[in-house]
């Protein structure tokens, strides 16, 4: 399973990075490949390439605001959740993304 994610919160200080860390933590537990782009106060970091996006089985937007450069994800399966939900329960988000990828 290949997952790519984007995290972004309003202030771009804390939740962006907590959500990114939690997505990675629980994806790794399932042995899923994951790369997470953060769109925070420091701008875009760990930017996803179009090739990485194209190769992904599913996309997770963990955002409380709009995703920058969203057109990169056209035609992908996208799970959109708030950052708090990912901070609270990263496992559930990863499981939901996996279900979406499998078309369940």
């Amino acid at each position: 399973m290949k997952i790519v994610g984007v995290t972004a919160c309003i202030a771009g200080i804390a939740h962006t990075y907590m959500a990114a860390a939690n997505l990675k933590k629980f994806a790794k537990k399932e042995n899923y490949d994951i790369k997470v782009e953060t769109q925070g106060a420091m701008g875009i970091e760990n930017e996803l390439s179009q090739a990485e996006i194209d190769a992904a089985d599913v996309v997770i937007f963990a955002v409380d605001t709009t995703v920058q450069n969203e057109e990169r994800f056209t035609s992908k399966k996208i799970l959109e959740v708030g950052t708090s939900k990912v901070v609270k329960d990263g496992r559930e988000t990863i499981e939901a993304a996996a279900r979406l990828a499998k078309g369940e």
């Binding site: 200080i13 804390a14 708090s84 901070v87 990263g90």
Partner: protein, 154 residues
């Protein structure tokens, strides 16, 4: 970044036994510490900004931890405080837990893409690490807490 982390976080940034009786009281007390240390220019305005952010969504991230924060014109210099409170405080936390450990982050509008934001981002990510949280909760001296933060904030 490594050479600066000990400048960024020192014993001045750690408060044991905050003695707060509520969320508001905790934020007020921490704002006063920031003012005393010269990081913010106005306690009431800073406090208002933090509470505004809190209204948008809780910063009680669960596991007895909260990370109130504000990016505001009232912050002179980006910094953080880590405070422990003996009494659990109601924080509307994601997991319903009361808060005993508070990471307060104050971000200056002048900072953009700098090393301080990077350290705050790194520490935020570490809060998702169960071992890190366990260590912070267990540590009961400033020295010990500092050691954990400095090791992780790199």
């Amino acid at each position: 970044m490594n050479e600066n982390i000990s400048e960024f976080i020192s014993e001045k940034n750690i408060v044991l036994n905050l003695g707060a009786s509520s969320q508001l009281d905790a934020i007020q007390k921490l704002a006063r510490v920031l003012e005393k240390n010269g990081y913010i220019d106005n306690v009431l305005d800073f406090q208002k900004d933090v509470l505004e952010r809190e209204k948008a969504s809780t910063t009680g991230i669960g596991n007895e931890m909260a990370i109130p924060h504000s990016k505001s014109e009232h912050v002179r210099q980006t910094t953080m405080l880590l405070a422990k409170n003996d009494v659990g405080l109601e924080w509307n936390s994601l997991d319903g837990s009361s808060v005993k450990c508070i990471f307060l982050m104050a971000v200056s509008l002048k900072d953009k893409g700098d090393e301080h934001l990077k350290m705050l981002a790194t520490l935020s990510g570490e809060l998702m690490d169960d071992d890190f949280v366990r260590a912070i909760k267990k540590a009961d001296s400033k020295k010990e807490i500092l050691k954990i933060l400095q090791k992780k904030g790199k």
